[in-house]
């Protein structure tokens, strides 16, 4: 495997990590807000809070890792994407900043906040994936032109394209679906049957729009970027695997069995789809201007980054293992028997 393929694979893996952990977080915020609105917050709030509290900061790090890594391995992407993404990414940043910090204010200061805060937390959780997903749309090409040697984003064209909106739709629906499946399991783990059952219904409910939005994207992509569409068809087996896993997850949820396995299947399902999409996108970072080959950094930097990455993993994996063991998989913590908050 060449260094640039190794680099982009690792980054893509971390972006996938972000998609999963952030989806759980964003979706949880939305369900929490929704349950407040329909008066069922007593069912969900506790479970959601116990999961989110120790991990919210970690979620953010996955994103930072991805964008620092991409500038490191592919410095030219800083030039192209940096120039065109000023407005969309600034908006995402502001949403992330408000959401993250107000989460900390709310959960660590003595009083519990007000309903408006919960609603805002829920709504920003949907806007963030929507605004970040725009970057994927832009990468498909067709919205960037080179004017006087400078890349230029055609915002009007971007926002009137059905492709944009179908990707936005998928991002939001996927967030809700992933989160609902995860919380079904976590609720069960916390011995909270009500919460678990409510989330199970949401998960089943959101599975239908998920399928619809995926079909929508395929249709739009065929017209927008036929080459990419062709590549995706060549990788049909990855997407087929993803589809099979999706159905298996739904069956498990339907018969109310093995929610833990359902979560694993869900992650693998999205993994197949995410990597299927990524591989078919190869070699372009920004179609057709920027490919992983010509934007790649020099060899000595690449080797240094890979070594640093391996060293980093040696630190990270045991630390993440502790988080999992103490908060996510610890039954006593999940159901609230342990409360050792500072």
């Amino acid at each position: 495997m060449s260094l640039e393929v190794l680099g982009i694979s690792v980054l893509w893996l971390f972006l996938f990590g972000y998609v999963i952990v952030a989806s759980i977080d964003f979706g949880a915020g939305f369900f929490n807000a929704y349950s407040v609105m329909i008066g069922k917050d007593h069912i969900l709030s506790q479970v959601i809070k116990r999961y989110l509290s120790p991990v919210w900061e970690i979620t953010n790090v996955f994103l930072v890792f991805f964008f620092v890594g991409i500038v490191g391995f592919f410095p030219q992407s800083a030039y192209y994407y940096g120039t065109i993404l000023l407005v969309p990414v600034s908006i995402s940043l502001i949403l992330i900043a408000i959401r993250g910090s107000y989460y900390a204010f709310e959960s660590y200061s003595a009083k519990s906040g007000h309903i408006g805060y919960k609603l805002m937390y829920g709504v920003t959780g949907l806007f963030i994936p929507a605004s970040l997903s725009i970057v994927l749309t832009i990468s498909e090409g067709g919205f960037v032109t080179i004017v006087k040697d400078q890349p230029h984003l055609e915002i009007a064209k971007l926002f009137t394209s059905p492709l944009t909106w179908s990707i936005v739709l998928l991002s939001v629906v996927a967030v809700l679906y992933i989160s609902a499946v995860f919380l079904t399991w976590y609720g069960k783990r916390a011995n909270d049957e009500h919460a678990s059952d409510l989330m199970r219904k949401y998960a089943l409910g959101w599975s239908i729009p998920l399928v619809a939005s995926v079909i929508g994207i395929m249709v739009e992509l065929k017209g927008h970027n036929p080459a990419h569409y062709e590549n995706m068809l060549n990788l049909w087996w990855l997407f087929a695997m993803s589809g099979v896993l999706f159905i298996m997850t739904l069956i498990l949820l339907g018969v109310k069995k093995k929610y833990g396995l359902a979560v694993i299947l869900l992650v693998v399902q999205f993994g197949f789809a995410f990597f299927g999409y990524g591989i078919s996108h190869y070699p372009y970072l920004l179609y057709p201007y920027l490919s992983v080959h010509d934007s790649f950094t020099n060899e000595s930097m690449a080797i240094a980054l890979v070594i640093a990455f391996i060293g980093g993993l040696v630190l990270l994996i045991p630390s993440l293992y502790l988080v999992m063991k103490w908060f996510v998989f610890d039954r006593d913590y999940a159901c609230g028997k342990r409360n050792h908050h500072v």
Partner: protein, 447 residues
Amino acid sequence: MNDSAVFWSRALTELTLSFHIIYATIGVGIPLMIMIAQWVGIKNNDEHYLLLARRWARGFVITVAIGVVTGTAIGLQLSLLWPNFMELAGQIIALPLFMETFAFFVEAIFLGLYLYTWDRFKNPKRHLLLLVPVAIGASMSAVFITIVNAFMNAPQGFDIVDGELINIQPVLAMFNPAMPTKVAHVLVTSYMTAAFLLASIAAYRMLRGSAHVYHKKALYLLMKLGLVFSLAALVVGDFSGKYLAEYQPEKLAAAEWHFETEEDASLVLFGVLDGEDIKYAIKIPYALSVLAHNNPFAEVTGLDQFPKDEQPPLYIHYLFDVMVMIGTLLIVVAAVYVLGKWRNWQFVSSKLFKRVIVAGGPLALIAIEAGWWLAEVGRQPWILRGYMKTSEGATTSGQVDTMLILFAGLYIVLAIGSIIALIRMFRDNPIERELAEHKLVEGCEEP
């Protein structure tokens, strides 16, 4: 090139950095303070120090949240506002940026572990162990990011031949000449600022009538730490002067209003400029030669050695003065307090002296801001000294001014939110009440 985009990009970067650095400094310094307090508490079996650590940790969560989100902002803004710079620098200095994300990762993970496992362990030392990676991660984040900044000041580890970058050596780029003094300065001033900020709070509580021994212990511990770290900052500051004289003489010369290259150079404090004439200034004979070369008679390079368009703005002189004055004042305050406690001088317990200590925290933050403005403005017109000017590094986007307004709004919201959250946290749960509740739960006797 788009002049207004350059201007607004500089403004937005300055705004983000000025805001972020407050929380970043606190974020680097406080974990060490918590660690020391908790260690003292465990060692002496003193509940007060344990509570000190616990309450600081609670407040720290709020500041770290802002540090994280504004750090994410500046991380992305580097590419959004300075795409040309990042495209070039990314090829040489991406390594420490990348390593910083791991330091940040470790810090974030262990902070979560530490916060949610209070009293979970039978052996309290094991809980304290969880804090060690937090403190190391926080400090290493500062080290790696400061290395990037040092590289901008003293780039090395590459060659440019016919406009092509060759011979890139990422590790050599990291260990550039600016790195040792800059990293050391950032670290010790962060610890120092954290100590004086927390001391400020303790002194404030005492002024407001709380006579609890908890605050006295806190204040004494913090002033000792403040003294150690401010003295360290003084030593490192002196080395920084020598670094500048050797590698960035134009920055030192502009900060000192040193126009002519000359021997026996005196250090100029305050004053105003009339052309190149300095008026109303305090001049300390030979001091600049000592600062630059450890030799009162040494020759110090002046601004006359640099073309006009490569000289930094002269107002950085005042930033230097502010930084140095505050640093010196804080050394004196901490030294007098520690000596006074030891020799039983009454006046260090007076209200007036406490007011001075209360002022110390905000003053330390002002010194941090002045120091960073000095460092950044003093590098102008370069973004990468000798290779790329700031104006060449900036974006060409026409929307930076709008983004500046949006981010200014964001920072106002974050500042207000964090202050309210902190005040509410501690006002609703004063130390007296927490101590009383603690006793009830644990049922232990008054010593």
